[in-house]
Amino acid sequence: MKRRDFLKSVTGVAAGAMVPAPAIWSAAKAQARSETLLIVSESGPNNLDIHGVGTNVPGYEVSWNCYDRLITHEMKTGPGGVAYYDRDKFKPELAEDMKVGDMSVTFKLKKNAKFHDGAPVTAKDVKWSLDRAVSVGGFPTFQMGAGSLTKPEQFVVVDDSTVRIDFAKKDRLTIPDLAVIVPCVINSELVKKNASEKDPWGLEYTKQQTAGSGAYKVTKWTAGTEVIMERNDDWVGGPMPKVKRVIWRMVPQAGNRRALLERGDADISYDLPNKDFVELKDSGKLNIVSVPYSNGVQYIGMNVKIPPFDNPKVREAVACAIPYQKIMDVVLFGLAKPMFGAAANAPTEVAWPQPTKFVTNIEKARALLAEAGFPNGFETTLSFDLGFAGVNEPLCILVQESLGQIGIKTTINKIPGANWRTELNKKALPLYTNVFSGWLDYPEYFFIWCYDGKNSIFNTMSYQSKEMDAFIHGAVDAAAIGDKAVYEKDVKGFVDLAFKDIPRIPLYQPYVNVAMQKNVSGYQYWFHRRLDYRALVKA
């Protein structure tokens, strides 16, 4: 073969296979396309059951859509007109009604509720599922405990369709905790059949398939590649979802996720870099929704046990030297809610998160540092989680530069995602940036984790103060008995103290960014920040 002919034929073959290959060929496939929602995201679930060992966050999304809970939240209009879950209003999902007594709550189940395999949902299933949540250990048990749900004896079968949950103690978070993802109702007979002596709760079985009564069921799951979910047409937990089929594909490359959206091939993507979101927003070709994380704050933390951060003056100096506005503009492209720069005379609110009064003031920072006995500054390390390098890295470089101006020389310490939590757990990082957000949107919930003297993993600053503990526990106790005045006083108390002692410097409330095609509507913001397919509509 001559060289020319050969080259011609090669390009010919390549072009031949490429050009006439439209995505959809037959009419049936076009039909399927209009009833199917194609979601692309960076990573997928590693387990379909939230009770599993080490289930990752994408796994929560599957659980949320494929299982029902007894109750769920009502919707309200949130920031920017986005449908937003209503923290204080509950509506029944699997339950028909809910009667809250003094020390217990009773649920009556919907009579016609069925699991995906057709078995009716009974009180026994509910008890078994809740028992499982408080018994399997790890994250689910811990989350149940956050609402004072700790022992199987608390869940009582009254009759076939009635369940009573006894309170261990009065706790405002018990009812909200029954509406999070963890207390989902599982088909107990089906799972028990597939359980073994080594695995009495059947975790291996539910890891691979969904066994719930939810609006969707997983029909195919290829780990790391795709999840396909079909609508459960017998669902009684709410209005029938419009989307028949959800295909969720993992596309690791952010640029490709954007290209897929812009070309109109993907319907929704929700983990694009901020810059891409801003550009997509400006182009106006897609629906872009940005909602602040509920009860979440990105912050600069300082370990108060490690000198010189044990000195409040040093911490205040750092807080005055943070380039807040620059971070908002350069790192986040404005896609976050500032948590700094409140007016000097602004009163403290009974809310969390709320902005501090700090603004960038290098002169003041220098003076404070001199006052603290470090006129020439000091050296330290500034650590961040590489798993979120897109935001953390530029943020830390800005902070490093700014702290340099007051003589604090920082070395940036990049910690791989897998090690981040281990390092935080050691509580040996002097200065770092991190983000925390709580599912339950209550100020005292945030503070118990992040500021309480029992020094949980999220109290990354090892901050311990008797005064702080008194405010936090005062607020928790006041909330349980509904003493509004004391509650408000204590919340303001702990917020003021947190800003005065400033062991962690709030920077901003991050946004959840969702990009979708113009013909997709019905996005709802949930505390877990994952997608709720049940409300989505594709025109």
Binding site: V10, P45, F142, A418
Partner: protein
């Protein structure tokens, strides 16, 4: 022949044992605590300990090792924590995806590189020689993810000729019944030409990316080896005897120049199979490379060990195959020697 193969496989056993020990120790020596990672963002110390116990990581290292080898002997590679699946199944599912892509990339590369190398060698200093030099230098110096992204940008995003970079098949096609695991072959077996076409069109861009990258070693090696052979005595004799240039080059020179090319091919293939992580990432390809890297990032031991072991076995088999091929191409090569 058979005794030779048996002998070669026997020799491979100590190196495989070495690989098992080294990967086990290396994965354990990495910083990072899988228990803390998988306990989730909201885990308490107790929760982390519970996870550690469940994963068997609270046991002494030596006990973990014996348990691991005992499982291996039963063909159990353990479970991946990131994907939640048994490692053996995952590798079985993902290896064909990588192999299909790599083989196709390699075939495209061979089809272009070998003629290019031969032509460059027969006309040293001509424009085709320069073309060969320029393309290979460009190919090897462009990072694969860059080539991949440019191809996606041009052929998918701008021109719309290529389908969405969403892995092995368009979302609305289902995979053909698995026989070989290679979608192209399976689709032909199932006589499902629509799927064949979809699979092929998904393959073109990633395969082209890999081909661009692997052009250089093959073309350069072909050229160098051809040059050496063309200047040897027997070629001069053949020419002097009045054989046509075609016969001299193809029958005499090319066959003799093949040995180093085959060696390069085997190296390129095994290298690509493991190293096409970036291509897999760019094209959302469910292959073995991206699997291993993701596992590594999340301190997920079992898949890393499984991956290294699989690659080691593949190297052993590939080397054996190449040695056998040597014998076919050049009967003078003695396998024992």
């Amino acid at each position: 022949m058979l005794t030779m193969i048996g002998k070669r496989l026997m020799f491979a056993i100590p190196s495989l044992i070495g690989v098992v020990i080294v990967t086990f120790l290396l994965t354990r020596a990495r910083p990072g605590d899988p228990a803390a990672y998988f306990a989730g963002p909201a885990a308490t110390k107790e929760a982390v300990e519970q996870i550690r116990k469940k994963l068997g990581l609270d046991k002494p290292l030596i006990e973990q090792f014996f348990r691991y080898t005992a499982d291996l002997a039963r063909g159990d590679f353990g479970n991946s924590l990131t994907t939640g699946q048994p490692v053996a199944t995952e590798i079985k599912n993902r290896l064909p995806a990588s192999a299909e892509l790599t083989l196709l990339g390699l075939v495209v590369s061979i089809v272009i590189a070998i003629p290019l190398g031969v032509l460059a060698a027969t006309r040293p200093g001509s424009w085709i020689d320069h073309l060969c030099r320029v393309t290979t230098t460009a190919g090897v110096s462009l990072p694969v993810f860059f080539t991949g992204l440019v191809l996606v940008y041009v052929f998918y995003f701008r021109l719309g000729w290529s389908p969405a970079p969403l892995g092995r098949l368009d979302v609305f096609y289902s995979a053909p019944p698995a026989v070989t695991g290679f979608y192209l072959i399976d689709a032909i077996i199932a006589r499902d030409f629509e799927t064949f076409r979809s699979a092929l069109s998904q393959l073109i861009l990633p395969a082209a990316t890999l081909a661009v990258f692997s052009l250089a070693p093959i073309a350069r090696m072909t050229r160098a080896s051809m040059l050496a052979v063309l200047s040897s005595d027997f070629v001069r004799t053949a020419r002097a005897s009045g054989l046509s240039p075609g016969t001299v080059i193809v029958t005499y020179a090319f066959r003799n120049a093949m040995l180093p090319v085959i060696t390069t091919l085997s190296m390129v293939f095994s290298f690509l199979l493991g190293a096409n992580v970036l291509v897999e990432k760019v094209f959302a390809w469910p292959g073995i490379g991206s699997y291993a890297v993701e596992a590594l990032i999340s301190s997920d031991f079992a898949p890393v060990q499984g991956f290294v072991l699989t690659m080691a076995v593949m190297y052993v088999l590939l080397n054996l195959l190449i040695d056998i091929l040597y014998g076919v191409i050049d009967p003078r090569v003695r396998l024992e020697g």
